[in-house]
């Protein structure tokens, strides 16, 4: 196995163009597990940890551009104010050790339906920045996830960053696991309020072959809030609205029965999470507007 250690992004992209079979490694918290268990024996590893530009973030034009190799610990510490949902999701990932090494780029690269950042990226309207020697493109998160552990990158592309709109509006992330810390999601849910657009973003994780938006739930709630003029003068949400929202979120899922939970439980839990997180986000919003 070759171990490629580029110092710059340009070098890395050149490597990837020359050897599309090279497996990128950032924090290694997914890759090393696969290697240790002999589930994968790539011909080459492409180490991204020396590339300084992948380890920085900056804010520009209403969005934060987070380098693909920025670890969760830094997102929690440095970006909690600007990107509340992503920071919340980051806090639920693994243990302190995993958060020190694991990255959003890696979460995207793995594209596991259970990855914790995905629902937030979908609900917040993020885009994935992909680069190759051919150029750079932005892939909306909605188009990024293609199947179980499959994503929209071309073989010669690397994820260089993720662009997440900065917001002061409430976002929430919540995941169910059968342990109170360090647990893979049985199912997860993110909600993001977009008051400027009079829109709500909502997405589910670990409840379908890919993370996915709950579009019917988004549309129902956005219409409901707009038609009742609630963005301008928020009222406590009717229980019936929260329930309908929860039901539509559950309907968006197509889960399976597996060792982590039953399909029926996942749907049930999603409806509860959706109701609760919406309640928290809305209460927060109402407090801010008032």
């Amino acid at each position: 196995m070759d171990f490629l250690r580029p110092d710059t992004l340009a070098e890395a992209l050149a490597h990837k163009a020359g050897r599309p079979d090279a497996v990128p490694i950032a924090g290694g918290t997914d890759v090393m597990v696969e290697l240790n268990f002999d589930h994968r024996r790539p011909a080459a590893l492409l180490d991204l940890t020396r590339i300084a530009e992948l380890r920085t973030w900056d804010e520009d034009d209403g969005a934060v551009r987070i380098g693909a190799a920025v670890p969760y610990a830094r997102i929690i510490e440095e970006l909690g104010g600007r990107l509340p949902g992503l920071a919340m999701a980051s806090r639920t990932v693994g243990s302190p050790q995993i958060r020190n090494r694991g990255t959003v780029g890696g979460n995207l690269g793995a594209a596991s339906p259970a990855g914790d950042t995905h629902p937030v990226l979908l609900a917040a309207g993020a885009s994935v920045e992909a680069a190759s020697t051919r150029g750079t493109r932005l892939i909306p998160a909605t188009d990024f996830y293609l199947g179980v552990k499959r994503h929209a990158l071309e073989p010669d592309e690397l994820i260089t960053a993720v662009h997440v709109p900065v917001t002061r509006a409430p976002q929430q992330f919540s995941k169910v696991g059968t342990r109170n810390a360090m647990v893979i999601a049985v199912c997860s849910f993110a909600v993001a309020l977009h008051p400027a657009e009079h829109r709500v973003g909502a997405a589910v994780g670990s409840a379908a072959p890919t993370p996915r938006r709950a579009s019917a739930a988004e549309e129902f709630l956005s219409a409901e809030l707009t038609s009742t003029n609630q963005w301008e003068s928020p009222e406590p949400l009717l229980d019936s609205v929260k329930r309908r929202f929860g039901d539509l979120v559950a309907e968006a899922a197509s889960p399976i029965d597996d060792v982590r939970g039953s399909a029926a439980y996942r749907k049930h839990a999603l409806s509860v999470l959706a109701r609760r997180t919406l309640g928290w986000a809305w209460q927060d919003y109402a407090g801010k507007v008032a």
Binding site: N36, F37, D38, M88, R91, T92, Q172, F173, S174, K175, V176, G177, T178, R179, N180, A181, M182, V183, I184, A185, V186, V259, R260, G261, S262, A264, Y265, K267, H268, A269, V272, L273, R276, G279, W280
Partner: protein, 739 residues
């Protein structure tokens, strides 16, 4: 005045009753302690194991040709290469070292590869061609006895009946229940590992993480066809055991490869392989009927218990005896009918795990006590106290409990503790679901539950249970120094500290070295059944007494003098074999007999917050009271109680090896969950020290009792919060939400 042995001991620091630092503590905290997986030898090769993918299949053919061609491969072995008897087992030699014509569980070893690199070994494994004729596995413990026999004598490993009192007794209040216990794993962190080094004369030295050196040695020697003295074992660093290292894993395999290739051979399992490489806790199905009078006094208990032993017997016979003899719990019951069966299936083999049969029974009998309390409209603690056994009580086996049995007192202690307050503000770490942010208080209901349990301490039923200790005393650099040598396995529990403490107290010598544990000395017995402090502690103490006798002789009746002067250049070296009082096998028809050496008791109160909408649980408090006879090392005692309680918590709410048609669905720590610091609350613990006059220093085994009562207390608390029956552990969110 003549000198007695007692005059020769002066108080030194770090003796019994103190909590001195562990000799291996600093190394372990710094990550410098050498575990078995760190073993290394120049020129060593690596062994790897080909395992059956099927729970039950006939082996049609095995083709090694391609594997042997892989460069770097030194040997590829099958059962045909086992020079001795291709059978081992703790109680019945029913398990092949390498499968012959049939595999009986998923993960059963079929062939071995030795290669100069672990990767090479894995590559070669993949090139071994095994043709299987797949058979339908037997997987249901309740019907296994009547299904296709997996072993010549049929599928019942052991049936233990207990018959006491009036078998037709009737009662005013009757409660019944069916309970299930899932398959728990020991989940020790240090995977199975060992290094076998061939000698020049056809023998072998094995460095190994195990719980019982001598029983390994005996089994390995038989399989290798070697006399015992040609197979020498030394304990390597053990990263936890909990029963999972009582059976052989790669012991014979590593030796076979080493002897065949003439090269030191190392084997280490990875986490997934570890799940296939050791026995688990027996899953159980338990049917109970309790009859009581209107005051809550038990009139009778009837139970039918099934334990799934999996493909091979391991220690199933003893687990069955425990579940049966301890099957009504720490209660006085005159009329008892228990039948307990341990059966063979094609599920993974099950054997020893902390609590050993008592855990399964306790979940059922304590659930029943709560049902009884409910039926009577009584407080669940009161109904237990009304029936609590005490010193002088008679067990269902007819055995009289002849030392402290403070069952009522333990229950009162946990009941009288102040209740934890409700959380004042939302801190996710205190919530069910924890930092995953699932509730800020919505759906959360608090519940409180109690349980008490009983465990036999030491080996039972006539087993010749002893330990051997050698203590040496001499002057080194002008200071008296002692050393202790045994073959009793330190698996993390702190036996090394206890032995030092005993020698310090008995000889008044501060400097005590604990020699490596190996088969160069007589049997130390198993590190299980909560027995090492009792038995090896007893042996070390007796060896110290023998040393003191020698000192008295040396002093020749003179008044006490300085040890250094008295010893001069002499070395006193005494080896003693020490055994606890004898037990007897129970009657095969009535289950009567003095089966057990000692009983241990613990009680828990669990306070839980349950998110009843999501089915998630936060154990808020898990307080315990336990009688330990004498706390030789109070800190180690607390450690055992905390660890045991945590393991019980795991069984209550998350730990299970999930099976489908005999196959393990979650052989990883990703999906086999064990409690984290956010799952296990800090504990308030009351330790009683009611000395057992029959035991050295009055000790009572500590390690297992807290595992037993923790599980049912937590489940009782979840029932109290939800109003649900919850008859299976672990309790899953689906059980609470009904989805």
């Amino acid at each position: 005045m003549s000198l007695t042995p007692a005059d020769l001991t002066s108080a030194v620091a770090g003796g019994i009753g103190a909590s001195p630092q562990r000799p291996d503590g600093n190394l372990k905290v710094r990550g410098e302690f050498a575990y078995a997986s760190d073993l290394w030898h120049e020129d060593m090769i690596w062994g790897a194991t080909l395992r059956s993918p099927h729970p039950y299949a006939r082996i049609v053919s095995v083709d090694l040709t391609e594997a042997l061609k892989v460069p770097g491969v030194h040997a590829v072995l099958t059962h045909e290469d086992v020079p001795g008897q291709n059978r081992y087992g703790l109680e019945h030699r029913d398990q092949p070292v390498l499968a012959e014509d049939v595999v009986r569980y998923q993960g059963e070893p079929v062939a071995l590869v030795g290669a100069d690199h672990p990767e090479t070994a894995l590559r070669a494994l993949k090139r071994i061609k095994v043709e299987y004729d797949v058979l339908t596995p037997v997987v249901d413990m309740e019907t296994a006895a009547d299904e296709r026999p997996l072993h010549p004598a049929g599928n019942v490993v052991r049936h233990v009946p207990i018959r006491r009192g009036d078998q037709r007794a009737e009662a005013e209040v009757v409660v019944t229940g069916r309970y299930e216990v899932g398959m728990q794993d020991q989940a020790f962190l240090g995977p199975e590992s060992g290094l076998a080094v061939p000698d020049e004369e056809g023998g072998v030295d094995l460095y190994i993480a195990t719980q019982w050196l001598h029983v390994d040695q005996a089994q390995v020697a038989v399989a290798l066809g070697l006399p015992l003295e040609r197979v020498r074992l030394t304990l390597s660093g053990v990263g936890g055991a909990f029963g999972g290292r009582e059976d052989l894993s790669m012991q014979v395999h590593a030796c076979l490869l080493a002897l065949r290739t003439g090269k030191p051979t190392k084997m280490v399992y990875n986490r997934e392989e570890s799940f296939y490489g050791h026995v688990h806790r027996h899953p159980a199905v338990l049917y109970y009927e309790h009859g009581a009078d209107r005051t809550g006094r038990l009139v009778y208990v009837k139970a039918r218990i099934f334990l799934d032993g999996g493909a091979y017997a391991s220690s199933t016979s003893a687990v069955v005896a425990n579940a049966a003899t301890l099957g009504v719990g720490p209660y006085d019951v005159d009329n008892v009918t228990v039948d307990c069966w341990g059966v063979y299936t094609n599920n993974p083999p099950c054997g020893a795990m902390r609590g050993f049969g008592a855990v399964q029974a306790a979940f059922a009998y304590e659930s029943q006590m709560d049902r009884l309390a409910e039926a009577l409209g009584m407080d669940p603690v009161d109904v237990r106290i009304v029936n609590a056994m005490s010193e002088g009580s008679v067990m269902p086996t007819g055995q009289v409990v002849d030392s402290a049995a403070p069952v009522a007192q333990l229950l009162k202690l946990v009941k009288d503790k102040p209740m934890p307050p409700l959380p004042a503000a939302v801190d996710l770490r205190d919530m069910p679901g924890g930092v995953s942010n699932t509730t800020h208080g919505e759906g959360v209901v608090r519940g409180v539950g109690y349980a008490v349990g009983i465990k036999n301490i030491c080996f039972s039923e006539g087993f010749d249970d002893y330990s051997t200790a050698r203590v040496r005393l001499q002057v080194i650099n002008g200071e008296p120094a002692a050393s202790a040598h045994t073959a009793a396995a330190e698996v993390g529990q702190g036996l090394v500290t206890i032995m030092q403490q005993i020698v310090r107290t008995e000889l008044g010598v501060e400097r005590v070295t604990i020699l490596p544990m190996d088969t160069g000395i007589g049997n130390g017995g198993s590190t299980s059944a909560s027995r090492q402090t009792y038995v090896t502690g007893g042996a070390v103490r007796a060896a110290c007494a023998a040393v003191r006798e020698k000192l008295v002789k040396l002093a020749g009746g003179r008044a006490p003098v300085d040890l250094v002067d008295l010893l001069g250049d002499d070395v006193i070296d005494e080896t003693v074999e020490w055994r606890h009082r004898a037990t007897e096998r129970i009657d095969p028809v009535t289950g009567q007999g003095n089966a057990h050496v000692q009983y241990g008791f613990a009680a828990h109160r669990a306070v839980v917050d349950v998110d009843v909408e999501l089915g998630l649980v936060k154990v808020v408090e898990l307080d315990c009271a336990q009688d330990v006879g004498k706390a030789l090392n109070p800190q180690a005692v607390l450690g055992q109680i905390q660890g045991g309680s945590a393991q019980g918590l795991g069984l209550a709410v998350m730990e299970e090896i999930q099976l489908a048609d005999g196959k393990v669905r979650n052989p990883s720590f990703t999906d086999y969950l064990i409690p984290t610091v956010l799952d296990m609350p800090p504990m308030s613990i009351d330790v009683l020290e009611l000395a057992d006059p029959h035991a050295p220093y009055g000790v009572r085994g500590v390690g297992e009792p807290p595992t037993i009562s923790s599980t049912p207390a937590i489940v009782a608390a979840i029932r109290a919060a939800t109003g649900l029956a919850l008859t299976r552990v672990p309790v899953r969110p689906e059980h609470i939400t009904g989805t």
